[in-house]
Amino acid sequence: MADIVFIAMMIVAIGGAIVALEADEIVYGAIALAGSLFGVAALFFLLDAPYVAVFQITVYVGAVAVLILFTVMLVRQEKWANEVPSRSITKLAGVLTGVAIAGSLVAAVVGSSLTSSTELENAAGYLQIGQLISTGYAPILEVLALVLAASVIGAITLSRADREENEQ
């Protein structure tokens, strides 16, 4: 049986995701997305992975959500308040695709022998994460640093060069 905190955080994560996509005002959608990411972080806590949970809160809820919020406010328009609704056939297709994929994922796991795994004891902690990052996965960490730097520089270049063109 799932406990009460799990159910509450499940509702926060799933409800936030739905509101993020369906809210009329896109700013509220961005805030709801931050709530959904926070709910997933709480699920990481429940999974005995506090380091990942705190990382998720700092990077996602702290940085990415604020970045999204600023961009939404930069490009927001009044006419989006009455955004053209998608055709109902598209909506039906979307719901059907989503339900089919989620249902098949759930069915695959329920039908397997994984349902018997209920114990969370002896889960790995900070020490193992640190050892992995600083030994076997160290090259990935280096490459990831380069990717982050390149993408941020690329983002700055993209949004700068265009402004200079407009001024000419």
């Binding site: 799932a2 406990d3 996509l21 990481f44 992975a49 990942v52 969370l120 050892q131 996965y137």
Partner: protein, 101 residues
């Protein structure tokens, strides 16, 4: 006590919501929301399986890398959205047709 199936259920539902958003929405920002939701669903699966079945730190380490990659990807997408808005005053992906073949 929570079982592995509970977490996989939450992850599958989040993934389904992300797929729904990708199919239905046309605003580039909503598509970014969908992708972030799907990345989160995948991360949740990684940590859940790693903690319940293998009990080592590889799943958590991979999720740390995945979160950092998602942050980089969000930065690039948001820059593209800002550029598209400057050029077209709109971020509806069905109207951005410069790269269409």
């Amino acid at each position: 006590m929570n079982t592995l199936t509970d977490y996989v259920f939450v992850s599958a539902v989040l993934f389904g919501i992300g797929i729904y958003g990708l199919v239905v929405k046309r605003s580039a920002l909503r598509l970014l929301f969908s992708v972030e939701i799907m990345i989160n669903a995948a991360n949740l699966n990684f940590v859940a399986f790693s903690q319940y079945l293998w009990k080592d730190a590889v799943g958590q380490t991979v999720v740390l890398f995945s979160i950092a990659l998602a942050a980089a990807e969000a930065a690039v997408i948001l820059a593209i959205v800002v550029v598209a808005y400057r050029l077209h005053k709109d971020v509806d992906v069905s109207k951005l047709k410069e790269l269409e073949g």
